[in-house]
């Protein structure tokens, strides 16, 4: 991977990287992709993708309101709040 591809991926992941970091990740991710490309030795045509252990299944529950966590307690962990709201930089000028 080159520095340009790294920058594109970093932006998708909302990570700000310095020049040295970009270079390091380009080198390391290329090595990891070499490792990952060993998958190509396995023939997987026609195999059903497995997203999670089959027997586990996935359960749906009724769409009803359950127990709630107190609003003030949740807000207490936020970096910045005002009047019961999360505060972020202005997005509409």
């Amino acid at each position: 991977m080159n520095a340009e591809e790294i920058e594109k991926v970093a932006h998708l992941a909302r990570l700000g990287l310095g020049a040295a970091e970009r270079e390091g990740y380009a080198r390391e991710l290329s090595r990891i992709l070499d490792l990952v490309s060993q998958m190509n030795a396995a023939a997987t045509e026609g195999v059903e993708p497995m997203t999670h252990p089959d027997a586990a299944g996935l359960r749906l529950r009724d769409d009803v309101v359950g127990p709630e966590i107190d609003r003030d307690r949740l807000l207490a962990g936020a970096p910045l709040t005002r009047d019961g709201l999360y505060l972020v930089p202005r997005v509409i000028e």
Partner: protein
């Protein structure tokens, strides 16, 4: 604190000691061995208060099997009112408003939490060196790693700071540190233990489990942890067997599957020899060895390093500096805040995996990487299903080497990843597996891995327990502890 929880529970029941005494002892040992860096948070006052409450409950006749037993939780489990960092700067000051189900259930069983153990950042690592709070040291040799990511839990139990601790295992994070520290650790089947309140790394692979001195202790702990939970859509609604009652069965006729390749290239000869000797011990107990093959497991590490980072990149998108956790002190606008917060809040290994996962899921690469890995995952799982037609458990080494030196592998991510070659296939297939002490190589512990059929934890615990009835590796304590 050299006693097992089985013995502690007996002593408590007989009135030979109090929970307060046990907790005081654990706290004193944690303080005396603080240089191991096994703990991130210890709340002494709360632990003493809970111990006294446990003692009162016992006197009032309301004691359960684990009432008053001191334990530690890996710092990945949310604990209401107690800082939960996940080994990251991102959550360095995070105080959860609720308990993880595992924490709640162990509290209900009477366990007294003495603290939260150190771990690789967001459970991403095999050496505990990626923790924002510094590496944990291996009690057998302080210049070596304890393994990871549940390295703090493993070191704490090995050094007898606490009799047991919880861990989580996404690619080997209970079993590998258990092996490298000479303790017993069980990764249950996917879905056996609730993941609610367990800070997510890779949701289709993560599973919580017990780490203790013995399989018998793990049986007691799993009994407290396991079971259905409406808060986890993948928690299984199936009966939980009586794990303790099942420990006594003999091993005559047990078929142990052995994969020839697990003793070949890359495995240290002394590790292979210790595991072979363990297999001979099983043969003496009446078990028979059966050759099995897991051909697609050769591709398990590459497969895992697509799927786990892909899931992680999605799970860790929630750390944006808005609702909880770290926010960068200075920024220009919203996007800049996201980027600076995430760059400063995450360490290098976490960023590496987020990058890898984002890449694997991005347009143009999704089929070549992500879908390819999902197909391979099924082949790996199918191999296990075929192997289990011919055997009851599969045995082999947990890790190709004993504990390596601090700093030896953290400059090369790929060599670190290959450390988990024997543990990763098990997570991909969702199976249970246990790591138990099987001897020493060059003075360092060697772990034996037993892999079971889906939901067959009872058999794994039984097979491990019987081994511990005729060997004493699990009773060895590192010098100075």
């Amino acid at each position: 604190m050299t006693l097992t929880i089985t013995k502690i529970a007996e002593d408590l029941a007989a009135g030979r000691c109090s929970s307060r005494e046990l907790v005081d002892d654990a706290l004193a040992r944690i303080r005396a061995h603080a240089s191991l860096n096994a703990f991130i948070t210890v709340d002494e006052d709360a632990a003493r208060r809970d111990a006294e409450a446990a003692d009162r409950a016992r006197h009032a006749g309301g004691a359960g099997a684990l009432t008053g037993v001191p334990i530690a939780h890996k710092d990945i489990f949310c604990t209401m009112g107690v800082k939960t960092t996940c080994g990251s700067r991102m959550l360095a000051d995070f105080v959860p408003p609720y308990d993880a189900t595992v924490v709640r259930k162990m509290k209900a069983a009477g366990c007294v939490m003495v603290g939260k153990t150190n771990m690789d950042e967001f459970a991403m690592g095999s050496s505990n060196e990626t923790s924002y709070f510094g590496p944990v040291r291996n009690p057998w040799d302080r210049d070596r790693v304890p393994g990871g990511s549940s390295g703090g839990s493993a070191a704490a139990v090995a050094a007898r700071l606490v009799p047991a601790a919880t861990g989580t295992d996404t690619g080997g994070s209970i079993r590998q540190p258990a092996a490298l520290c000479g303790i017993t650790g069980l990764k249950p089947s996917y879905g056996r233990v609730s993941r609610y309140g367990l800070i997510a790394f890779a949701s289709s692979l993560d599973q919580a489990g017990p780490m203790a001195q013995t399989a018998e202790d793990c049986a007691h702990l799993l009994a407290a942890m396991a079971g259905f939970d409406e808060h986890d859509a993948t928690a299984l609604d199936v009966p939980v067997p009586d794990y303790v009652a099942g420990l006594g069965r003999d091993l005559k006729g047990l078929r142990i599957g052995v994969v020839a390749g697990h003793f070949a290239q890359g495995v240290e000869p002394l590790v292979a020899e210790a595991v072979r000797e363990a297999l001979r011990e099983y043969e003496r107990a009446g078990a028979v060895l059966v050759d099995v093959t897991l051909p697609n497991s050769a591709h398990a590490v590459p497969c895992y390093y697509v799927l786990a980072p892909a899931e992680a990149s999605s799970n860790l998108a929630r750390y944006d500096g808005v609702r909880y956790g770290f926010r960068a002190p200075e920024y220009q606008d919203l996007e800049d805040m996201y980027k600076k917060t995430r760059s400063q809040g995450f360490g290098p290994e976490v960023k590496r995996r987020i990058m890898m996962g984002t890449y694997a899921l991005s347009a143009g690469y999704y089929d070549a990487y992500y879908v390819k890995a999902l197909r391979l995952r099924r082949l790996i799982a199918d191999d296990f299903a075929r192997a289990f037609e011919h055997c009851d458990v599969i045995a082999g080494p947990v890790s190709p080497s004993t504990a390596f030196a601090l700093g030896a592998k953290n400059t090369d991510p790929v060599s670190m990843y290959l450390n988990d070659i024997f543990t990763i296939p098990v997570n991909l297939a969702g199976l249970p597996a246990i790591s138990l002490p099987a001897g020493f190589a060059g003075g360092l512990p060697v772990g034996l891995q037993l892999i079971g059929r889906y939901l067959d934890e009872a058999r794994l615990l039984n097979v491990a327990h019987r081994f511990q009835q005729v060997t004493d590796w699990h009773t060895r304590v590192p010098a100075g502890f």
